[in-house]
Structures are given as structure tokens and as C-alpha cells.
Amino acid sequence: MADNQNTILQVENLHTHFFTESGVIRALRGVDFSVERGKVLGIVGESGCGKSVTAQCIMNMLPGNGRAVEGKISYYPRESIGSQTEKVDITGLPPRGKAMRAIRGNEIAMIFQEPMTSLDPVYTVGSQLMEAITLHQNVTKQQGKEIAVDALAKVNLPEPARIFDAYPHQLSGGQRQRVMIAIALSCNPTLLIADEPTTALDVTTQAQILDLMRALQEETHMSIIFITHDLGVVAEMCDDVAVMYLGKVVEQTTVDAAFHSPQHPYTRALLRSIPRLTDENQTRLDVIKGRVPDPSVVPPGCAFHPRCPEVIPGLCDVHTPEVIKLGGGQEVRCLLYDDKLMAQSPTRTALAESR
């Protein structure tokens, strides 16, 4: 996939560690995925799986005690469309360097979960929006203001000129998230990273924001990395899905395959465990036993094996699964699809054949 003309971002074997007082936390333990140009990739996972850390790595803005110790993030800038691909190695750039700042906020933009804390309460919406615009675009103040009001109108905020002069606390949660989107989109990024953008919002407001993001994506053809824990939102928004568990992508595939022919036992179990409207009332849900372990104590072998309903003792707790490519671009990290290892495990060979 790496040499594909259509790839805008490629993450390979990314390892990120946090060095804390009580030891090293291996937040990412080899993350691989790629984002296609003009597509929406959903990254799903539960708390502690490393989805937000992945976003921070792509933006090259890890907190002070975190470091990408291994792996590569390659970004293929917009200029390269059509001509030969000239890639930028984000992990190799200094986080505060000029090159990174030219990309961050300009070509790759980000919106966050909590719109209240990501806007500065002492500045007006307008001045924060103008800051983003004048930083990356060579425009006069007057032009900047026009672009800003325009951006506010584009995210369907009523009376954009009034909102321009408003302070964040005067807006509702949904309006603040719209402002964040306006700021993120003001420089026409080619890649937008949305980290749980609707988790803090009510369901009707979430519907508004999702609707808006979809419309803007169709209009600008930007790529989006949509990070969420809500499988419903993924099904609504995304073209491709990467499922993360404890610092690794365990499955990457198209959204249709993810929901209709999931291959990794974790993806399957996750889909079975969510309540659905179409269920008969009051039926028992299928559960995944146990809980997500703390990232400081990752189980050996396949990290999911202690909770996996299809675990093979003696295999899954020993061998670490590699990425296995299945048909239709589906990639999965699971020993059940490792023919060589499965052949060595006589007890389960029959099971594998029946699959």
C-alpha cells in the first residue's frame, strides 16, 4: 500500500513509549495503517488502546514524557498529486521545527473531544480563527477576517459575524465544536484528524456535527482520520476502519467488511457486545470477558488472548501475531490466520480447516 499513488499517510511499525515515574508505558507497540486520499479512516478502540496517542504522533505533538521510539509516519503532501510522490517523514522532523509547523494546522489539522478546553476562554472566536489563518496564509487583516467569517458560515453557524466576536463560553457545546472545525478547515487541510469529536456531545448535536463533517468532506475531498469508540459513528462516517487493541492495529479493512465479515476475534466480539435497536427487548448481550488491561501490563503473545473467545492455549500466549493479508485488502493480526503456526498446532488444525 505504501507506494500507492492514493495513499496520503502511511504509519509503519510505530512504537511510542511514555517515560513516567513508575516506569515505561508502551502506549503504541507497532501500529500500522494507511489513509487513502479523499477517504475517511475510522480508528476504533476502547480506552487505553492508543488511538489518541496515534493522533498525537501524526501531529508530532506528543507530551514531554512521550517519544516515538521506533517506526515511521510518512506523509505524502498535496503538491505531489499527479507528479511523483515526494514524501515527508513526520517522525524524523523536530516537533517544534519550521517544517513541522508548516504541516501542522496547515496540511494536517486536528479537532478534539472537548471543545471547551481546546478553545482559549480569554480570546474571541474570531481572534483564534484569525491566528490560525494569518499563521499559514499570507493575507492582510481584512482578507483574513473575510476568510474567517466565511469559514464560520461554512460550518453552518448562524450569524457568523456575531459569532466572530463572541467568546467561547457564550457558545453551546455544539457551536464550539463547529468553531473548532472552522479553525481546523480554515487552511484547507488535506488531512483532518478528528479525535472523538462528538463524544462530549448529545446525540442530536452529534447528528448535526456528523452531518456537517460529511458534507464538508464531500465538498473538499480531504482525508479524515476519525477516532472514536462508538461503532455506530464509524458505520455512519467511515470508508475504512482500523481496529486498535492495546497499542496495535488488530484489523484494517473497509467499513463494509468490518461490520459484515469481521475477521479478528476482537472485532467480532466487539460487534456482538453492543446493544442494537433491532434486538428483541431484554435479551442478554454477548460479552467479552474481563476488561481492557492497563497499558503498563500488556499480556504476552497476542495481547487480546486472555479475553479472546477463540484463544488457542500454548499458541496465542506465546507467539506474537504478525500482520496477515487476507483477500479484499483486509489485514488482520491474529494467529488463527497464520497457516504455518496453525499447522503446528494439531489440536486446532481441524478448527482452522473448518473456517
Binding site: 446525540v203 447528528a207 448535526q208 452531518d211 458505520a235 453492543i274 446493544p275 435497536l277 434486538d279 448481550l285
Partner: protein
């Protein structure tokens, strides 16, 4: 704001089972204070005339967006807050109807054995200074039900019933994950053998894979102990999965009450319709266009005139901004507070 809503039991007529809890015209107005002497300058009408009744053995869902007053309603029922107005009648096994809203604190203390509550935030609901024995055993100690060895046995039994090992009795809450803490919270709620539990967003702080465990546990315990739940949530899928009846709240009022399936299939209130339409469907093959509401939920300190939903309602007519529609029964057990509930044909999701 004192218009009397429909005083009759909105969903009791179809059900011949006994009513356990009946709430009538409940109001909870929080004063807004300002200035040096903290003078009252207005009221936040968090709950503004809510009526519903819960049948024994039922799970009654209360759903709505943040700030709609669902949590406040739950706390008023528990008398963790003293309601401004209205009646809360609990039909006790032996003593017959009890007016919770007018009980003296000492009487309330005795009565609390019958009703318990579990909370949303697994981190704030357990005192970090106490061991599991002290947390789960607290209701037993306070009410002098058990002590010593007997207390230990009872706590062990409670922990087992929520799927935790009694060995954990001497541990502190910080050793447990969110899902396990919710189990501990449930064990504490069960300690006094209550009949009725207010479950305030019991799974909304949990991971997807753990949510199912807790929902199943809540269901299992209901069967085992014959519990009745007031189940407060904002997630429509969870409500659909767990509840027998649902009341939809908007800005401190109930806009619609019905049997769950009926409400999801044939909503009568435009707000319910929009709420249902907004549920993200975990199936990419069924993407559809949604009803997108304009604007935001109004501030309960300054609600709009007439029907609170009219500024955002696609079907609003002139009367909607002038008169507040009462909650009326339109089909057996199905009530709605909309002037046009009969005329509109709204779409559900089933």
C-alpha cells in the same frame, strides 16, 4: 409555569400489574443567586412538572439529552434532593402508599432500605478511603442490620452476586477498573434488599466491551431479586435494550411516554422522532439521511414560550409558541405532549 399536566397515570391503564411508584407533577427549581447577599434572582427549572408511574418488576427508562432533568428527577425520587413541588408516592408491600416528598428525615432513613441508587461515575461513587467491606457493608452498618462475622458473610455474598470474588473484601477501590467499580456500586445498592433501584447512567462511563457485562448483570439481578428499576440514560440503544417503558424528557418535562417498542416504532412527539433518527446505526449498509435539528437545547433558566420544543420543531405552528401542550394519552399506554400528536405521522426506527 404551573399548568397542571395530565394528572392521571399516563401508562397505567393497560397494565394491570401493581404500581410501585407514582410521581405526579414533580418540580425541582434551583434558585439562581447573585450578589453580595446571594439574593435569588431567578430559578433553573430543572424538573418542571413531571408525572409518571412505574409498575412493579418493570424497568422504566428516563431518556433525554444533558440538562433535560433526568438525573435531577432520579435524585428527587430518592429524596437526595428535596423537590420544590409535586408528589412521589411509593406503594410499600406492607404499609401501603407512602408520600416520599413529605417524609421527615428520620422517617426517610427507615424507608431508604426499600430504595437504592447506583451512579454514573465509577470513580466518584466509591469513597477511596474505605475498603470494599466498608463500602458494601456501609448500608448494613448504618441500619444496624449486621455486624462482625455476619457482616463479612453478607458482604461476601453480595460481592459474589455481582460477580466479584469475596477475596477482594479488604481491597481499596483504586485496585479496580471502571466496570468492576460499577459492580461494587451495585453490590452496595443491593445490600439492604431494596425493591427499587434508581440506576443513573450506569454504563455511560464504561468501555464498550465492559458495558455489555454490566447491562447483563443489571438484568440478571432484576430476575434474581425481583427488582424494579428507574433506568436513566442518554444512549437510546441502551434504553431500547434494557427498558420496558420509556419516558422522553426535554427541558425538565416529559414529552412522551410509552412501552419501549411502541415508542421506537411509532413516536408521537417530533422530538422523539429526531432523537430516534439521530441514533448512529452500527451497520454501514443502512446509512440514511437523518432529521437534523436546528439550534441547541434551550437553557432551563430561560425556556421558550409555549411548547419548549417549538423553536426547533419542523412541524411547529402558531399555537405551539403560545400554549404548552399537556401530556395526553393517544393510544393505550402511549402519551405525548404535542398539540399535533394525532395529526402528525412520524417515523420510528423499527
Amino acid at each position: 409555569m404551573a399548568q397542571k399536566e395530565n394528572k392521571t397515570n399516563p401508562n397505567g391503564s393497560v397494565d394491570s400489574r401493581t404500581t410501585l411508584l407514582e410521581v405526579t407533577d414533580l418540580k425541582m427549581h434551583f434558585p439562581i443567586r447573585k450578589g453580595f447577599l446571594r439574593r435569588v434572582v431567578g430559578h433553573v427549572k430543572a424538573v418542571d412538572g413531571v408525572s409518571f408511574s412505574i409498575q412493579k418488576g418493570d424497568t422504566f427508562g428516563l431518556v433525554g439529552e444533558s440538562g433535560c432533568g433526568k438525573t435531577t428527577t432520579g435524585r428527587c425520587v430518592m429524596r437526595l434532593l428535596d423537590p420544590t413541588d409535586g408528589q412521589i408516592v411509593y406503594y410499600d408491600r406492607e404499609e401501603g402508599p407512602i408520600h416520599i416528598e413529605s417524609l421527615e428525615p428520620t422517617e426517610m432513613r427507615v424507608f431508604r432500605r426499600d430504595m437504592q441508587i447506583m451512579f454514573q461515575d465509577p470513580y466518584a461513587s466509591l469513597n477511596p478511603r474505605l475498603t470494599l467491606r466498608q463500602i458494601v457493608g456501609e448500608p448494613l452498618i448504618i441500619n444496624k442490620v449486621a455486624s462482625g462475622k455476619e457482616l463479612d458473610d453478607r458482604v461476601a455474598e453480595l460481592l459474589r452476586s455481582v460477580g466479584l470474588s469475596p477475596e477482594y473484601m479488604n481491597r481499596y477501590p483504586h485496585a479496580f477498573s471502571g466496570g468492576q467499580r460499577q459492580r461494587i456500586g451495585l453490590a452496595r445498592a443491593l445490600a439492604l434488599n431494596p425493591e427499587f433501584i434508581v440506576a443513573d447512567e450506569p454504563v455511560s462511563a464504561l468501555d464498550v466491551s465492559v458495558q455489555a457485562q454490566v447491562l447483563n448483570l443489571i438484568k440478571d439481578l432484576q430476575e434474581e431479586f425481583g427488582l424494579t428499576y428507574l433506568f436513566i440514560a442518554h444512549n437510546m440503544s441502551v434504553i431500547k435494550h434494557s427498558c420496558d417503558h420509556v419516558a422522553v424528557m426535554y427541558v425538565g418535562r416529559i414529552v412522551e411516554v410509552a412501552e419501549t417498542k411502541e415508542l421506537f416504532r411509532n413516536p408521537l412527539h417530533p422530538y422523539t422522532e429526531a432523537l430516534l433518527s439521530a441514533i448512529p446505526n452500527p451497520d454501514p449498509r443502512q446509512r440514511k439521511s437523518r432529521i437534523i435539528l436546528e439550534g441547541d437545547v434551550p437553557n432551563p433558566a430561560r425556556p421558550p414560550s409555549g411548547c419548549y420544543f417549538h423553536p426547533r420543531c419542523a412541524y411547529a405552528k402558531e399555537i405551539c409558541s403560545q400554549e404548552s401542550p399537556p401530556l395526553q394519552e393517544y393510544a393505550p399506554g402511549h402519551s405525548a405532549a404535542c398539540h399535533f400528536a394525532k395529526e402528525l405521522s412520524l417515523t420510528g426506527v423499527l
